[in-house]
Symmetry: C2
Subunit: 198 residues, 2 copies
Protein backbone atom coordinates (compact mmCIF):
# COMPACT_ATOMS: atom_id res chain seq x y z
CA UNK A 1 0.00 0.00 0.00
CA UNK A 2 1.26 3.46 -0.92
CA UNK A 3 1.67 5.63 2.16
CA UNK A 4 1.60 9.45 1.98
CA UNK A 5 4.07 10.97 4.40
CA UNK A 6 3.21 14.38 5.81
CA UNK A 7 5.61 17.02 4.51
CA UNK A 8 7.37 14.57 2.20
CA UNK A 9 6.44 16.51 -0.92
CA UNK A 10 7.91 19.76 0.37
CA UNK A 11 11.03 18.02 1.70
CA UNK A 12 11.54 16.41 -1.72
CA UNK A 13 11.30 19.76 -3.50
CA UNK A 14 13.74 21.46 -1.11
CA UNK A 15 16.17 18.52 -1.30
CA UNK A 16 16.00 18.47 -5.11
CA UNK A 17 16.65 22.19 -5.49
CA UNK A 18 19.60 22.03 -3.09
CA UNK A 19 21.11 19.05 -4.92
CA UNK A 20 20.62 20.69 -8.32
CA UNK A 21 22.63 23.65 -7.02
CA UNK A 22 25.36 21.54 -5.44
CA UNK A 23 25.81 18.91 -8.15
CA UNK A 24 23.98 20.23 -11.20
CA UNK A 25 20.64 19.09 -12.52
CA UNK A 26 21.97 16.35 -14.79
CA UNK A 27 24.19 14.76 -12.16
CA UNK A 28 21.44 14.59 -9.52
CA UNK A 29 19.57 11.28 -9.28
CA UNK A 30 16.14 10.50 -7.87
CA UNK A 31 17.83 8.22 -5.31
CA UNK A 32 19.95 11.15 -4.04
CA UNK A 33 16.92 13.42 -3.79
CA UNK A 34 14.97 10.80 -1.83
CA UNK A 35 17.92 10.15 0.50
CA UNK A 36 18.42 13.86 1.21
CA UNK A 37 14.70 14.25 1.92
CA UNK A 38 14.78 11.24 4.25
CA UNK A 39 12.31 9.15 2.26
CA UNK A 40 12.56 6.07 0.06
CA UNK A 41 12.82 6.17 -3.72
CA UNK A 42 9.37 4.67 -4.01
CA UNK A 43 8.00 7.54 -1.90
CA UNK A 44 9.55 9.95 -4.43
CA UNK A 45 7.67 8.18 -7.20
CA UNK A 46 4.39 8.46 -5.34
CA UNK A 47 4.71 12.24 -5.66
CA UNK A 48 6.53 12.74 -8.97
CA UNK A 49 7.07 10.58 -12.08
CA UNK A 50 10.66 11.89 -12.44
CA UNK A 51 12.97 14.73 -11.36
CA UNK A 52 11.90 16.98 -14.21
CA UNK A 53 8.23 16.74 -13.27
CA UNK A 54 9.12 17.76 -9.74
CA UNK A 55 9.79 21.19 -11.24
CA UNK A 56 6.81 21.21 -13.62
CA UNK A 57 4.26 20.32 -10.92
CA UNK A 58 4.53 23.71 -9.22
CA UNK A 59 4.15 25.51 -12.53
CA UNK A 60 0.87 23.77 -13.32
CA UNK A 61 -0.60 24.62 -9.94
CA UNK A 62 0.47 28.22 -10.32
CA UNK A 63 -1.03 28.49 -13.83
CA UNK A 64 -4.30 27.05 -12.58
CA UNK A 65 -4.54 29.45 -9.63
CA UNK A 66 -3.71 32.50 -11.77
CA UNK A 67 -6.36 31.50 -14.32
CA UNK A 68 -8.97 30.80 -11.61
CA UNK A 69 -8.42 34.16 -9.97
CA UNK A 70 -8.79 35.92 -13.32
CA UNK A 71 -11.93 33.94 -14.22
CA UNK A 72 -13.58 34.78 -10.91
CA UNK A 73 -12.83 38.52 -10.91
CA UNK A 74 -15.94 40.74 -11.02
CA UNK A 75 -17.48 41.09 -14.50
CA UNK A 76 -16.68 44.80 -14.64
CA UNK A 77 -13.02 44.39 -13.59
CA UNK A 78 -10.47 45.92 -15.99
CA UNK A 79 -7.82 43.61 -17.52
CA UNK A 80 -5.25 44.58 -14.89
CA UNK A 81 -7.78 44.29 -12.07
CA UNK A 82 -8.47 40.75 -13.25
CA UNK A 83 -4.72 40.04 -13.34
CA UNK A 84 -4.49 41.40 -9.78
CA UNK A 85 -7.19 38.92 -8.74
CA UNK A 86 -5.16 36.11 -10.34
CA UNK A 87 -1.98 37.22 -8.55
CA UNK A 88 -3.85 37.36 -5.25
CA UNK A 89 -5.22 33.86 -5.67
CA UNK A 90 -1.85 32.36 -6.70
CA UNK A 91 0.12 34.29 -4.07
CA UNK A 92 -2.13 33.10 -1.26
CA UNK A 93 -1.11 29.51 -2.01
CA UNK A 94 2.54 30.31 -1.25
CA UNK A 95 3.77 29.83 2.28
CA UNK A 96 7.05 29.83 4.22
CA UNK A 97 8.44 26.85 2.27
CA UNK A 98 8.04 28.73 -1.01
CA UNK A 99 9.66 31.77 0.55
CA UNK A 100 12.69 29.79 1.69
CA UNK A 101 12.88 28.10 -1.69
CA UNK A 102 13.23 31.35 -3.68
CA UNK A 103 16.96 32.04 -3.31
CA UNK A 104 17.81 28.32 -3.60
CA UNK A 105 15.83 27.98 -6.80
CA UNK A 106 17.52 31.08 -8.18
CA UNK A 107 20.95 29.59 -7.44
CA UNK A 108 19.98 26.28 -9.02
CA UNK A 109 18.71 27.99 -12.17
CA UNK A 110 21.84 30.16 -12.41
CA UNK A 111 23.96 26.98 -12.31
CA UNK A 112 22.16 24.98 -14.99
CA UNK A 113 21.44 25.66 -18.65
CA UNK A 114 18.69 23.04 -18.56
CA UNK A 115 16.98 24.72 -15.60
CA UNK A 116 17.26 28.10 -17.33
CA UNK A 117 15.30 26.68 -20.24
CA UNK A 118 12.70 25.18 -17.89
CA UNK A 119 12.45 28.44 -16.00
CA UNK A 120 11.95 30.38 -19.25
CA UNK A 121 9.24 27.95 -20.33
CA UNK A 122 7.60 28.44 -16.95
CA UNK A 123 7.38 32.20 -17.52
CA UNK A 124 5.95 31.69 -20.99
CA UNK A 125 3.41 29.16 -19.66
CA UNK A 126 2.25 31.43 -16.85
CA UNK A 127 1.81 34.32 -19.31
CA UNK A 128 -0.14 32.04 -21.65
CA UNK A 129 -2.41 30.86 -18.81
CA UNK A 130 -3.24 34.45 -17.87
CA UNK A 131 -3.68 35.57 -21.49
CA UNK A 132 -6.09 32.69 -22.19
CA UNK A 133 -8.09 33.43 -19.04
CA UNK A 134 -8.33 37.11 -20.07
CA UNK A 135 -9.43 36.27 -23.62
CA UNK A 136 -12.13 34.02 -22.13
CA UNK A 137 -13.36 37.10 -20.22
CA UNK A 138 -13.65 38.96 -23.53
CA UNK A 139 -10.46 41.02 -23.30
CA UNK A 140 -9.29 41.66 -26.90
CA UNK A 141 -6.10 39.97 -28.09
CA UNK A 142 -3.22 42.45 -27.92
CA UNK A 143 -4.44 43.82 -24.57
CA UNK A 144 -4.82 40.29 -23.15
CA UNK A 145 -1.26 39.36 -24.17
CA UNK A 146 0.14 42.51 -22.71
CA UNK A 147 -1.77 42.09 -19.44
CA UNK A 148 -0.57 38.46 -19.22
CA UNK A 149 3.06 39.57 -19.61
CA UNK A 150 2.59 42.26 -16.97
CA UNK A 151 1.17 39.60 -14.66
CA UNK A 152 4.24 37.40 -15.05
CA UNK A 153 6.61 40.32 -14.52
CA UNK A 154 4.67 41.31 -11.39
CA UNK A 155 4.67 37.77 -10.03
CA UNK A 156 8.40 37.30 -10.62
CA UNK A 157 9.35 40.70 -9.21
CA UNK A 158 7.10 40.29 -6.19
CA UNK A 159 8.31 36.76 -5.49
CA UNK A 160 11.96 37.85 -5.69
CA UNK A 161 11.40 40.74 -3.27
CA UNK A 162 9.41 38.56 -0.90
CA UNK A 163 11.86 35.67 -0.83
CA UNK A 164 15.14 37.58 -1.01
CA UNK A 165 14.44 40.39 1.44
CA UNK A 166 17.03 40.90 4.14
CA UNK A 167 16.04 38.47 6.86
CA UNK A 168 18.36 40.02 9.40
CA UNK A 169 17.00 43.51 9.00
CA UNK A 170 16.20 45.34 12.24
CA UNK A 171 12.52 45.45 11.45
CA UNK A 172 12.49 41.66 11.20
CA UNK A 173 10.13 40.44 8.54
CA UNK A 174 6.70 39.71 9.80
CA UNK A 175 5.48 36.12 9.49
CA UNK A 176 2.24 37.70 8.32
CA UNK A 177 4.16 39.32 5.53
CA UNK A 178 2.42 37.74 2.58
CA UNK A 179 3.48 37.28 -1.01
CA UNK A 180 0.26 38.90 -2.28
CA UNK A 181 1.36 42.29 -0.93
CA UNK A 182 4.54 42.06 -2.97
CA UNK A 183 3.04 40.85 -6.23
CA UNK A 184 0.22 43.42 -6.11
CA UNK A 185 2.68 46.23 -5.32
CA UNK A 186 4.84 45.10 -8.25
CA UNK A 187 1.79 45.17 -10.54
CA UNK A 188 0.99 48.71 -9.40
CA UNK A 189 4.57 49.73 -10.07
CA UNK A 190 4.43 48.23 -13.57
CA UNK A 191 1.11 49.93 -14.30
CA UNK A 192 2.68 53.25 -13.31
CA UNK A 193 5.75 52.48 -15.45
CA UNK A 194 3.55 51.83 -18.50
CA UNK A 195 2.65 55.53 -18.46
CA UNK A 196 6.27 56.47 -19.15
CA UNK A 197 6.91 54.16 -22.11
CA UNK A 198 6.52 57.08 -24.52
CA UNK B 1 41.78 23.87 -45.42
CA UNK B 2 38.26 24.73 -44.35
CA UNK B 3 36.15 25.87 -47.28
CA UNK B 4 33.10 28.12 -46.81
CA UNK B 5 30.32 27.20 -49.20
CA UNK B 6 28.00 29.99 -50.31
CA UNK B 7 24.49 29.49 -48.89
CA UNK B 8 25.54 26.44 -46.86
CA UNK B 9 24.65 28.07 -43.56
CA UNK B 10 21.10 28.88 -44.63
CA UNK B 11 20.62 25.46 -46.23
CA UNK B 12 21.77 23.81 -43.00
CA UNK B 13 19.29 25.80 -40.92
CA UNK B 14 16.36 25.01 -43.26
CA UNK B 15 17.33 21.32 -43.42
CA UNK B 16 17.64 21.11 -39.63
CA UNK B 17 14.26 22.73 -38.96
CA UNK B 18 12.56 20.44 -41.49
CA UNK B 19 14.16 17.33 -39.98
CA UNK B 20 13.28 18.41 -36.43
CA UNK B 21 9.65 18.59 -37.56
CA UNK B 22 9.68 15.30 -39.44
CA UNK B 23 11.66 13.17 -36.97
CA UNK B 24 11.79 15.16 -33.76
CA UNK B 25 14.74 17.10 -32.40
CA UNK B 26 16.28 14.24 -30.43
CA UNK B 27 16.15 11.74 -33.28
CA UNK B 28 17.78 14.10 -35.80
CA UNK B 29 21.55 13.72 -36.25
CA UNK B 30 24.13 16.14 -37.57
CA UNK B 31 24.87 13.66 -40.39
CA UNK B 32 21.21 13.75 -41.49
CA UNK B 33 21.13 17.56 -41.42
CA UNK B 34 24.31 17.77 -43.51
CA UNK B 35 23.01 15.21 -46.02
CA UNK B 36 19.68 17.02 -46.43
CA UNK B 37 21.53 20.32 -46.94
CA UNK B 38 23.81 18.70 -49.52
CA UNK B 39 27.03 19.31 -47.60
CA UNK B 40 29.47 17.14 -45.68
CA UNK B 41 29.40 16.64 -41.92
CA UNK B 42 32.65 18.56 -41.61
CA UNK B 43 31.04 21.51 -43.42
CA UNK B 44 28.29 21.44 -40.76
CA UNK B 45 30.95 21.70 -38.07
CA UNK B 46 32.55 24.69 -39.75
CA UNK B 47 29.31 26.58 -39.13
CA UNK B 48 27.99 25.12 -35.86
CA UNK B 49 29.56 23.16 -32.98
CA UNK B 50 26.41 20.99 -32.67
CA UNK B 51 22.72 20.87 -33.59
CA UNK B 52 21.65 22.80 -30.53
CA UNK B 53 23.96 25.72 -31.33
CA UNK B 54 22.45 25.88 -34.80
CA UNK B 55 19.35 27.20 -33.04
CA UNK B 56 21.18 29.41 -30.56
CA UNK B 57 23.27 31.19 -33.22
CA UNK B 58 20.29 33.08 -34.64
CA UNK B 59 19.21 34.17 -31.18
CA UNK B 60 22.57 35.73 -30.40
CA UNK B 61 22.61 37.70 -33.64
CA UNK B 62 19.07 38.90 -32.99
CA UNK B 63 19.89 39.99 -29.43
CA UNK B 64 22.92 41.90 -30.64
CA UNK B 65 20.99 43.72 -33.39
CA UNK B 66 18.13 44.65 -31.03
CA UNK B 67 20.60 46.01 -28.48
CA UNK B 68 22.59 47.93 -31.11
CA UNK B 69 19.46 49.58 -32.50
CA UNK B 70 18.41 50.63 -29.00
CA UNK B 71 21.87 51.93 -28.15
CA UNK B 72 22.04 54.04 -31.30
CA UNK B 73 18.57 55.59 -31.02
CA UNK B 74 18.61 59.39 -30.60
CA UNK B 75 19.37 60.56 -27.06
CA UNK B 76 15.91 62.07 -26.64
CA UNK B 77 14.06 58.96 -27.87
CA UNK B 78 11.42 57.59 -25.47
CA UNK B 79 11.80 53.97 -24.23
CA UNK B 80 9.39 52.68 -26.88
CA UNK B 81 10.99 54.80 -29.61
CA UNK B 82 14.32 53.19 -28.69
CA UNK B 83 12.69 49.74 -28.81
CA UNK B 84 11.31 50.62 -32.25
CA UNK B 85 14.85 51.46 -33.39
CA UNK B 86 15.99 48.04 -32.10
CA UNK B 87 13.16 46.27 -33.92
CA UNK B 88 14.00 48.13 -37.11
CA UNK B 89 17.65 47.17 -36.93
CA UNK B 90 16.93 43.49 -36.18
CA UNK B 91 14.11 43.22 -38.72
CA UNK B 92 16.26 44.59 -41.52
CA UNK B 93 18.61 41.62 -41.11
CA UNK B 94 15.79 39.18 -41.94
CA UNK B 95 15.29 38.20 -45.56
CA UNK B 96 13.30 35.71 -47.64
CA UNK B 97 14.97 32.69 -45.99
CA UNK B 98 13.81 33.83 -42.56
CA UNK B 99 10.35 34.42 -43.91
CA UNK B 100 10.13 30.91 -45.34
CA UNK B 101 11.52 29.50 -42.12
CA UNK B 102 8.77 30.95 -39.89
CA UNK B 103 6.01 28.36 -40.36
CA UNK B 104 8.53 25.49 -40.40
CA UNK B 105 10.11 26.64 -37.18
CA UNK B 106 6.67 26.95 -35.61
CA UNK B 107 5.83 23.38 -36.61
CA UNK B 108 9.16 22.10 -35.27
CA UNK B 109 8.64 23.87 -31.94
CA UNK B 110 5.06 22.56 -31.64
CA UNK B 111 6.39 19.02 -32.10
CA UNK B 112 9.19 19.09 -29.51
CA UNK B 113 9.21 19.75 -25.79
CA UNK B 114 12.95 20.47 -25.99
CA UNK B 115 12.45 23.06 -28.72
CA UNK B 116 9.63 24.67 -26.73
CA UNK B 117 12.05 25.21 -23.88
CA UNK B 118 14.68 26.61 -26.23
CA UNK B 119 12.11 28.88 -27.83
CA UNK B 120 10.98 30.13 -24.43
CA UNK B 121 14.57 30.83 -23.42
CA UNK B 122 14.98 32.71 -26.69
CA UNK B 123 12.10 35.05 -25.79
CA UNK B 124 13.50 35.62 -22.32
CA UNK B 125 16.97 36.30 -23.74
CA UNK B 126 15.72 38.80 -26.31
CA UNK B 127 13.75 40.63 -23.61
CA UNK B 128 16.83 40.69 -21.38
CA UNK B 129 18.99 42.07 -24.21
CA UNK B 130 16.54 44.91 -24.81
CA UNK B 131 16.05 45.61 -21.10
CA UNK B 132 19.81 45.83 -20.55
CA UNK B 133 20.25 48.15 -23.54
CA UNK B 134 17.46 50.39 -22.20
CA UNK B 135 18.93 50.50 -18.68
CA UNK B 136 22.26 51.50 -20.24
CA UNK B 137 20.41 54.43 -21.85
CA UNK B 138 19.23 55.48 -18.38
CA UNK B 139 15.68 54.12 -18.57
CA UNK B 140 14.63 53.25 -14.99
CA UNK B 141 14.16 49.59 -14.06
CA UNK B 142 10.47 48.73 -14.18
CA UNK B 143 9.94 50.79 -17.34
CA UNK B 144 12.95 49.17 -19.02
CA UNK B 145 11.66 45.66 -18.23
CA UNK B 146 8.22 46.48 -19.49
CA UNK B 147 9.55 48.04 -22.69
CA UNK B 148 11.77 44.98 -23.27
CA UNK B 149 8.77 42.65 -22.93
CA UNK B 150 6.76 44.81 -25.32
CA UNK B 151 9.64 44.63 -27.78
CA UNK B 152 9.64 40.82 -27.70
CA UNK B 153 5.86 40.64 -28.09
CA UNK B 154 6.07 43.04 -31.04
CA UNK B 155 8.88 41.09 -32.68
CA UNK B 156 7.09 37.76 -32.30
CA UNK B 157 3.72 39.08 -33.47
CA UNK B 158 5.25 40.92 -36.42
CA UNK B 159 7.37 37.93 -37.44
CA UNK B 160 4.36 35.60 -37.32
CA UNK B 161 2.24 37.93 -39.45
CA UNK B 162 5.08 38.46 -41.92
CA UNK B 163 5.96 34.79 -42.31
CA UNK B 164 2.51 33.24 -42.11
CA UNK B 165 0.53 35.66 -44.25
CA UNK B 166 -1.56 34.08 -47.00
CA UNK B 167 0.89 33.70 -49.88
CA UNK B 168 -1.87 32.98 -52.38
CA UNK B 169 -3.87 36.09 -51.58
CA UNK B 170 -5.03 38.12 -54.55
CA UNK B 171 -2.87 41.04 -53.61
CA UNK B 172 0.20 38.78 -53.74
CA UNK B 173 2.76 39.72 -51.13
CA UNK B 174 5.30 42.16 -52.35
CA UNK B 175 8.92 41.05 -52.31
CA UNK B 176 9.59 44.49 -50.87
CA UNK B 177 7.26 43.67 -48.03
CA UNK B 178 9.69 43.90 -45.15
CA UNK B 179 9.60 42.50 -41.66
CA UNK B 180 10.21 45.93 -40.12
CA UNK B 181 6.78 47.13 -41.26
CA UNK B 182 5.19 44.26 -39.36
CA UNK B 183 7.18 44.51 -36.14
CA UNK B 184 6.75 48.29 -35.94
CA UNK B 185 3.01 48.00 -36.61
CA UNK B 186 2.78 45.36 -33.86
CA UNK B 187 4.61 47.68 -31.45
CA UNK B 188 2.16 50.50 -32.27
CA UNK B 189 -0.74 48.13 -31.67
CA UNK B 190 0.70 47.09 -28.29
CA UNK B 191 1.31 50.70 -27.30
CA UNK B 192 -2.36 51.45 -28.08
CA UNK B 193 -3.42 48.34 -26.14
CA UNK B 194 -1.50 49.50 -23.08
CA UNK B 195 -3.96 52.39 -22.77
CA UNK B 196 -6.83 49.94 -22.16
CA UNK B 197 -5.20 47.84 -19.42
CA UNK B 198 -7.23 49.64 -16.76
Amino acid sequence: MARWEPGARERLVVAAVDLFTERGYDATTVAQIAERAGVTKSTFFRYFPDKRELLVAGQETLSRLLAEGIAEAPVNASPLEAVAAGLKRASSAMGPVNRKLGPRLKAAVAASAELQERDALKSVSLAAAMTTALITRGVPDPTAHLAGELGVLAFKRGYTQWSEGDRDAEDDRDAEDELAQYTLAALDELRAASASLG
